[in-house]
Amino acid sequence: MSIDTRALLYLVAAVAFVLGLKRLGSPRTARSGNTIAAGGMLMAVIVTLVDADVSWTILGSGLAVGAILGGTAAIRVQMTSMPQLVAAFNGFGGIASALVAGAEFVKADGLELPTETIFTIILSVLIGAITFTGSFVAYAKLQGLIGGSPITYPGQKMVNGLLAVGIITAAVIAQISQDPLAFWLIGAVALVLGVLAVIPIGGADMPVVIALLNSLSGMAAAATGFVISNSALIIGGALVGASGLILTKLMTEAMNRTLSNVLFSGFGATSTSSAAATGGDVTTTTPEDLAIALAYASQVVVVPGYGLAVAQAQHAVREVATLLEARGVKVAYGIHPVAGRMPGHMNVLLAEADVPYDQLLDLDQTNNLLPRTDVVLVLGANDVVNPSARDDEGSPIYGMPILEVDHAATVIVVKRSLSPGFAGIDNPLFYREGTRMLFADAKQALTALGSALEDV
């Protein structure tokens, strides 16, 4: 196959990626979009294999091992664990790009490489290695292998700064002398830097981290595309790099924070609660009273938070919603962009529990509906419904867009205790008139609510 034919066929694969991503923009076409993108990938692989001068033993065993590992993980994973799985896949993509660039360098075996090739090899190794270890630290945090709270130590920024300087120095040396040692050094330091960059970031900030790592894995692929002059890698990498950046931006906006604040502030570790505890009395309720309130409402909005996922209560909430719908109550779900541990996580959990996607409302849709809502059921969410973000200029989360549940007639908060959220900020919503607290585990509360509803 001539180099031109090959390039044109890679272009067809790239077009399949673009079409696939486009179809991922609507729930009706998304599944076929994913299939089209996968078809493009298969085609790119076949085009590469035709007349390829490759070691079939290495290649065949590598493909088999990878397919078995990846396939098993994809089939077995629970939807609650989706963020860590995507983090792990990101990590593998990143390291693969770095290794391809590394192999290209090794293959040159001392022959002088063009300046731009050396430069892109450095970029690819650097980004790929950071993505690899960064993703696996994120994986460990999400999986609970290490604590989710930010890990900080004195001089942290100094250490990271020194490592960055070390990488730049090694890069300059590598660029000038093409010394293999300098390349290994870049790879090794980048691996360390990936770990150190993610450990100070708290569990609740993971949506931003995962989106950013997603973008980086694309950038690494694009850099590798430059190394081996392959347009399929450049296009695929650029698409993913751009997509990850947009999601990163959406997530930081949803927290009203800047990217550098998320990455470098150790939010939650250092911030002492600045707002004095609001205190006051809370009104508690029981599943039986709650059942009556819900059964006679006409519009109910459920606001799920990460607590719902932790309690594996998405099916329980769906069962309650089914009972309510049978009574003619309209049920919708108000989902804050950072409600889960990755963008859109809560939507997937509810989809798994058979909630139709037209009932999953985004921030603006929910806030439009809330003034016409009789009962809001807040399940394991806290900061995303905290009115301080809107009203209290002194609050650390001031300015963060929230679900304005206090605009609804009645707010019911299901929560294990009055403990504050990850940022250590008290929530005046709990003490407000019209709010009732049900202190319970989300799943137990919903089960009790379900049986109480049968009796109403």
Binding site: I234, I235, V240
Partner: protein, 109 residues
Amino acid sequence: MPGIPLTPDVLSPVVVGIIVFVLAAFVGLELISKVPPTLHTPLMSGSNAISGITVVGAIIATGAGSGTLGSVLAFVAVVSATINVVGGFLVTDRMLGMFRKPKRPEDTK
């Protein structure tokens, strides 16, 4: 003057690559901004699988003349990239299969 071949000015591959990269990045930005929040997780895992296109590079890297070190790097690269590609597309398909159409009448289970 016959016999002297024309040598047109040819863009270097890097410049062509940069042009392709920048245009593709803008296409990506346009496409992704339109994806509703409901689909952000499948979008992320699907696009993540696309970044596994690096598997093409990994395949080429297993080529002859890479020596032992090169072969080891290439093998690990093929395994990692394949995990990314196969796992990514499969799990995205699994997730999207769960997104249920809006209710028709009598659709409650």
